[in-house]
């Protein structure tokens, strides 16, 4: 399940930041949104839209990050997000 979620997250990131940039970056679970991908805050919001479109309201990135400050959010890794998706899907299974 989480491999599939990883594939989906990588696809969504490519849509948000552009394919040509991602060609230079190997995305894995340890990839950070800030340091490795250079994701802008507003692009993280756009990623949240795509997650909601794909997974439904259960994967609510706004709720997931509600208890974090902006630095904690930007320290998140792709793996953190994939785990959140997997946990949410398990809860709704």
């Amino acid at each position: 399940m989480s491999d599939d979620a990883l594939t989906q997250v990588v696809r969504m990131l490519a849509e948000v930041v552009g394919e040509d940039f991602l060609l230079d970056v190997e995305i894995g679970r340890d990839t950070t949104f800030n340091d490795d991908l250079g994701l802008e805050s507003i692009e993280f919001v756009a990623l949240a839209d795509r997650l909601r479109d794909h997974y439904g309201d259960g994967v609510d990135l706004a709720a997931f990050i509600a208890g974090m400050d902006i630095d904690e959010i930007m320290d998140l890794t792709v793996g953190d997000l994939v785990d959140h998706i997997a946990a949410t899907e398990a809860a709704h299974a």
Partner: protein, 273 residues
């Protein structure tokens, strides 16, 4: 939420909290050039929605993920954009939460359509002033940035060095400052003078940093707007939204509960959030 087209411009809009008819609508207005709706999305919009509001956030034209236009960056156009977006969304009467330049947009909106603005939280708001010099500080900062961006080609260098985020932010600022009418539009934007401020009918919560360059605007609001409360944040300058988020929420959530009918979260009183 999908994009909304208003006045022929495509705006990036985000909503948090269900759009139930019983929920007050709170609309967030961000600052200029390097700012966009994400500064609210990651700070106060979630807690305001948790308190029972339907939070609406959008990127001003040319900012964030909204469509860039060659012109139309003055406060009057921003007010028309705001009401155009609210019309498209079907919201008639709303509360506004505005940061920095968003404040002058909020004040002019409340004066233009007092029937549609029920109350305002103004955070470090530009706009209140006695004369046309109000915007000078803002313009000087932006103009200095523009010169640097134009001659240094800084954005290209940063992008080439792999500093994607900083490079993109600077490229976006360069585009706005050097390739639109933004600076001219701002220079033509009139301040909101004391006589106008005295005519603001809705309740206002003004929040300013103790060491802010625009702190005088807060004192002017308190002196002139009949329903104004001023909260000065000790030790802070202009960046209270990001650096003083918890204290800001402790002040604005009870204010919104009183004036907009949202709930006061238990965590707000204890400051535990």
């Amino acid at each position: 939420m999908p994009d909304v087209t208003a006045r022929g411009v495509r705006f990036h809009v985000q909503a948090i909290g269900p759009p139930d008819p019983g929920r007050p609508v709170v609309v967030f207005l961000h600052g200029l050039v390097l700012d966009n709706l994400s500064s609210f999305y990651y700070t106060i919009a979630g807690p305001v929605a948790d308190a029972g509001a339907h939070a609406v956030l959008y990127d001003l034209r040319g900012h964030g993920r909204s469509e860039p236009t060659p012109d139309g960056y003055g406060a009057d156009d921003a007010v028309a954009d705001l009401f155009g977006i609210l019309d498209a969304l079907g919201h008639h009467r709303v509360h506004l939460v505005a940061n920095s330049f968003g404040g002058v947009v909020a004040l002019k909106a409340a004066l233009a359509r007092p029937d549609r603005i029920a109350g305002m939280v103004l955070i470090e708001a530009y706009g209140p002033g006695e004369d046309a010099g109000w915007v000078e500080g803002l313009l000087n900062t932006l103009t200095a940035s523009a010169l640097g961006l134009e001659y240094d080609r800084l954005a290209d260098q940063l992008l080439a060095a792999g500093w994607r985020k900083t490079g993109r932010q600077i490229a976006a600022a360069d585009a706005l400052i050097n390739r639109t009418t933004l600076l001219d539009d701002l220079a033509r934007t009139e301040p909101v003078r004391p006589a106008e401020l005295a005519a603001v009918r809705c309740p206002v919560l003004a929040v300013y940093g103790q060491h802010s360059d625009v702190a005088e605007a807060g004192r002017l609001l308190l002196r002139t707007v009949p329903g104004c409360t001023l909260h000065v944040m000790a030790g802070h300058a202009h960046t209270v939204l990001r650096e003083g988020t918890a204290e800001l929420l402790e002040v604005m959530l009870p204010w919104l509960a009183h004036h907009a009918g949202t709930r006061v979260p238990v965590t707000a009183a204890g400051g535990a959030r």
